[in-house]
């Protein structure tokens, strides 16, 4: 692995210096200045010099196309310099009186007369040495933090060099200010700069969100490239109350925001909100059918809802259903299905998914589900499956959904038993639900493929959703606002789901197997959930799915086959990469012999 640090291009950009000067000026004037400084501090000259800092890579915690996290040891002894200009009050009595209360002021007649003197300070011969933590993500910009005080020494030369007292004072004060600058201001500056460089779509995305906020807008699939950062961040903020999984959620933000359109996210958010707030308003999403609107035959067992993609939710959902006597959300029910399936199959869900033949599977599954619900399971199963079962559960849920079609009556009965209602989920669940919603609603799995919008994660559910007939025209929302689960419009691809699940199960289980051991020791189940989900998210092979477009089952089959190959390939790549990164991490950990610094723990 090689890194290429370009020092000169930074300085070659003529605008760089002016911009950096502006930012520095703003930063220097932000904090309250000592009373001796009576004017703004202006950065008149800034030169980064020709000598780049020495960087020693100590650790790379995370590495991907769009992300990077590492720790460096930085040493700098270059020829950069900085010239500041300001005005100082030369009369110490004036300075003192300006801060003293007037009631006890000695009220000198003229001894406190002001004398402002322009002052020029040149800072040069910086000697820096410190540990730098660099986190880069395409969506969130660059975060650079100094773990220690990097300033070793610098030379301050000023207008008052001939007066040793003032010289010492200035040296001391400026060192103090610089330490503050390095540790508090500089990270903020760099972050802002990086947002400006990489985050151009930030603004456009937010404006787009505004424009397309009308629920009737059929733009759901049309904006694949929009980065949904803004709306997503909002969601993330909302979810902050959500407790355990909040960190992981934010962690995933980067990925999702890159691939999900902001409009869709906005709609999803509305959907979630309506579900949670008893609001009767349900935004309509094109080329999707709401479960609540489906015909009775479609009105399927809640188990079929693929809502919770992330198996990690299973534990939370379980707890929800623990109160199972009361009817739960469809989403909850669906997640229940997940958990039930995984639970029934044991912690290692792999065989189940593998063997999932359509007919048989459903039956057993259905039975399982009911039992679970009725017994108001708070089984430990969920926890046990936490790691490995996550992806598994997804596939299983898909199968269940598939089965629904055939056993309509049973489903109906079930559905009636489970009256969808709005449940106020516990905070932690809120996040999960939301997540589920993303997945559910994303119609992007439609092979019509106009959407690069496809979130990786969402693809997992595709199978289950495909069965529902298309209802592009949105009927008036029924009273069940809770039933937010949407099915994409393609119809009749039973194979799709099964195949998909079959194909998919291997990689997913592998994934889980691979990752669960790694994260399990560090994190509790919510944390674990994050890892699992992130893993699944990162699979790049899922993206391609949305692009292949065919409405016929044959085409779909062919597409699936193609996809399978693609997925396998991509997944292999991904795994290799991950393994590599892990090795690195492990090695580092071994070397350190201690727990990683907090900055490296994913979910802390």
């Amino acid at each position: 692995m090689a890194f290429n640090f370009n020092w000169s291009p930074l300085t070659a950009d003529p605008e760089f210096y002016s911009r950096a000067r502006d930012l520095l000026t703003a930063a220097l004037n932000k904090s309250p200045k000592p009373p001796i400084i009576v004017a703004d501090i202006l950065v008149t000259e800034l030169n980064l010099g020709t000598t780049p800092p020495d960087l020693e890579i100590l650790e790379i915690g995370d590495l991907a196309d769009d992300r990077f996290r590492g720790i460096f040891k930085m040493e700098y002894s270059g020829d950069a310099f900085l010239t500041l200009q300001t005005k100082v009050q030369a009369n110490p009595l004036n300075t003192y009186l300006s801060t003293a209360p007037s009631f006890t002021s000695p009220q000198p007649l003229a001894a406190s007369a002001p004398l402002t003197i322009p002052l020029q300070i040149t800072l040069s011969n910086f000697r820096l040495s410190g540990f730098v933590i660099l986190v880069f993500s395409k969506a969130k910009g660059v975060t650079l933090v100094f773990r220690n005080d990097p300033l070793e020494s610098l030379v301050v030369s000023s207008t008052f060099d001939s007066i040793p007292f003032i010289k010492d004072y200035l040296q001391k004060e400026i060192e103090k200010q610089l330490r503050n600058l390095f540790q508090e201001e500089l990270p903020a500056i760099i972050h802002r700069l990086s947002l400006r460089w990489w985050g151009q779509d930030y603004d456009s995305a937010s404006s787009n969100t505004l424009r397309s906020s009308l629920p009737q807008n059929p733009t759901l699939n049309s904006g694949p490239s929009l980065s949904a950062k803004s709306s997503f961040e909002n969601l993330g903020e909302q979810a902050e109350g959500g407790g355990t999984s909040q960190q992981t959620f934010s962690f995933n933000n980067d990925l999702e925001s890159d691939t999900l359109s902001s409009k869709s996210l906005l709609r999803l958010a509305t959907l979630t909100d309506s579900q949670r707030t008893l609001s009767l308003f349900t935004p309509s999403i094109r080329e999707a059918i709401y479960r609540a609107w489906a015909t009775t035959s479609e009105r399927s067992d809640p188990t079929s809802t693929p809502s919770s993609t992330n198996g990690t939710h299973s534990s939370t959902t379980y707890s929800m259903d623990g109160s199972g006597a009361r009817p739960g959300l469809v989403a909850m029910a669906s997640s229940l299905s997940i958990s039930s399936s995984s639970g029934g199959l044991g912690p290692n869900g792999r065989p189940v998914t593998r063997s999932s033949a359509l007919g048989k599977k459903k039956k057993t599954r259905v039975v399982n589900l009911r039992r679970k619900k009725d017994t108001s399971t708070s089984d430990g199963d969920t926890s046990s499956i936490a790691g490995s079962s996550a992806p598994e559960s997804i596939t299983s849920s898909m199968e269940v959904g598939y089965e629904d079609k055939e056993h309509v009556e049973a489903n109906e009965a079930r559905a009636s038993t489970i009256i969808p209602e709005i449940n106020i989920p516990p905070p932690s669940l809120a996040i999960n639900d939301r997540r589920g919603d993303y997945v559910d609603v994303s119609p992007l799995r439609s092979p019509t493929g106009r959407d690069g919008f496809l979130a990786n994660r969402t693809v997992h559910h595709a199978g289950s959703d495909t069965k529902i007939p298309p209802t592009p025209s949105t009927p008036s929302p029924p009273q069940q606002t809770t039933q937010h689960i949407i099915y994409p419009s393609e119809k009749g691809m039973p194979f799709h789901s099964s195949e998909y699940s079959r194909e998919n199960s291997a990689p997913t289980s592998l994934f889980s197997g691979q990752y669960s051991p790694q994260y399990q020791p560090q994190q509790l189940s919510p944390g674990h959930h994050s890892s699992a989900s992130s893993v699944s998210m990162e699979n790049p092979f899922l993206e391609s799915r949305g692009r292949t477009g065919s409405s016929s089952s044959i085409a779909e089959k062919a597409w699936m086959m193609k996809m399978a190959g693609e997925m396998a390939r991509r997944w292999g790549e991904e795994r290799l990469r991950r393994e590599k990164a892990e090795e690195l991490l492990d090695e580092q950990r071994r070397r350190d012999g201690s727990s990683p610094p907090p900055a490296y723990q994913r979910s802390q």
Binding site: Y96, A100, T104, P106, P108, L109, A110, A111, L115
Partner: protein
């Protein structure tokens, strides 16, 4: 406008025969009153009362975005019979303005203050205690004033506020006034600041002159048309190892002067290189003009402030003052001493700096209320020339 507590404090000085103006700190009091006056901001109300001759309370409330206020109490061991309420007080006493300096009085001999009763000395030194609490700001001001001797006064002021370093500061000031010269020694706990101020009045020495012409004192004083004073101050902060020095000169006409009363001051700060010259002249019965020029010989920074003060009187005199603010009256037949102050209804103060920053202040009395309305106008900012506008209302009983 003078706050009620300041007014009471002045009354205390008067009652104990302490000459405030004979101090280096007040060398340029005239210029400060005419050019550095504070314009009120927002709405401020004061309700004060001298409930007994020894005890005064004052409540003030200000509303400038946020409402804040203060409660203050004052105790004086000397009964203050000379304090008038807001309906009767002479505006000259309630408003800072041109200082008509009087002739230096001979200080009392210490034996004059002695009171013997049955062979036991019963006289006590007059003391003034004052406290003020700013309510939301949680700032406490305290003042202890004691006339140690006919020529000596101790003033200890303190401020307590948690935001101040060390929680507050105390300033101790020992003042000595011998008429011919006065000196002050101060210590502030803030940066362990010590300071000495001194003022010397040239010419007439009341201690020597008065004994001779006790019979025809008025005739003697008429010879002295003015007084020249020189003073200096030195400060040194022990903790921050820095100090300050200044020296100043003042020439002012005395009431016996037949021409226009005028005051000239020059202060010099040799360390900083700062010169300040101020000139104030009473141009008639109701108008005072003042100018001040600042110059720094090191930085060449300069500043010029012009100001005027117009006293508005009742009846026929009032119409004349209204016609022109810059009108200069003939000094002929001008007498300061014989003026009646009762017919003054208000004072208009105005100043303008070289930055075209204008300050306007109208102080007066409306029925039983003293009020002051002021505004700060910045002509350089066309969009928003009125920087501050405010009104202050005072009711004393």
């Amino acid at each position: 406008m003078l706050g009620f507590m300041d007014y009471v404090q002045k009354s205390f000085y008067r009652a104990t025969k302490w000459d405030e103006d004979n101090s280096y700190a007040n060398l340029n009091a005239t210029a400060r009153a005419l050019l550095d006056f504070q314009t009120p901001k927002g709405l401020k109300m004061n309700i004060s009362s001298l409930s007994s001759p020894n005890f005064a309370t004052s409540y003030s409330m200000a509303s400038l975005g946020v409402v804040d206020g203060s409660v203050s109490y004052l105790y004086s061991s000397r009964a203050l019979g000379n304090v008038r309420n807001s309906g009767e007080v002479e505006l000259k006493d309630a408003i800072f303005g041109y200082r008509d300096l009087k002739e230096i009085a001979k200080p009392d001999a210490s034996k004059d203050w002695e009171i013997w009763q049955g062979g036991i000395r019963v006289d006590r030194r007059d003391t003034l205690l004052y406290g003020r609490m700013y309510l939301p700001a949680s700032t406490l001001e305290a003042l202890y004033l004691r006339r140690l001797a006919p020529t000596r006064q101790l003033k200890i002021s303190a401020v307590s506020n948690s935001r101040l370093p060390n929680g507050g500061t105390i300033l101790a000031l020992l003042q000595q006034d011998n008429g011919k010269y006065s000196s002050e020694y101060l210590y502030s706990t803030d940066v362990a600041l010590i300071g000495i101020r001194g003022l010397y009045n040239f010419g007439f020495d009341p201690r020597k002159a008065l004994p001779h012409n006790s019979g025809n004192g008025s005739a003697d004083s008429r010879k002295i048309a003015g007084r020249f004073s020189a003073g200096a101050e030195v400060y040194y902060g022990i903790l921050n190892k820095s100090g300050g020095v200044s020296t100043g000169f003042r020439y002012t006409t005395l009431p016996s002067n037949t021409g226009s009363p005028l005051t000239m001051t020059l202060t010099i700060n040799p360390i900083i290189g700062h010169f300040q010259a101020a000139y104030a002249v009473k141009a008639g019965k109701g108008a005072v003009l003042c100018s001040r020029y600042d110059f720094n010989i090191y930085s060449y920074e300069s500043d010029l402030v012009l100001g005027c003060e117009i006293w508005r009187r009742k009846q026929q005199q009032a119409t004349r003052t209204e016609t022109g603010t810059e009108e200069v009256w003939q000094p002929d037949g001008f007498t300061t001493g014989g003026e009646k102050e009762e017919d003054v209804t208000g004072v208009l103060k105005a100043r303008i700096t070289q930055n075209f920053n204008i300050g306007l202040l109208w102080e007066g009395r409306f029925k039983q209320l003293l009020f002051s309305i002021g505004s700060n106008i910045d002509l350089k900012r066309r969009d928003q020339p009125f920087r501050t506008v405010g009104i202050e209302i005072q009711y004393n009983s």
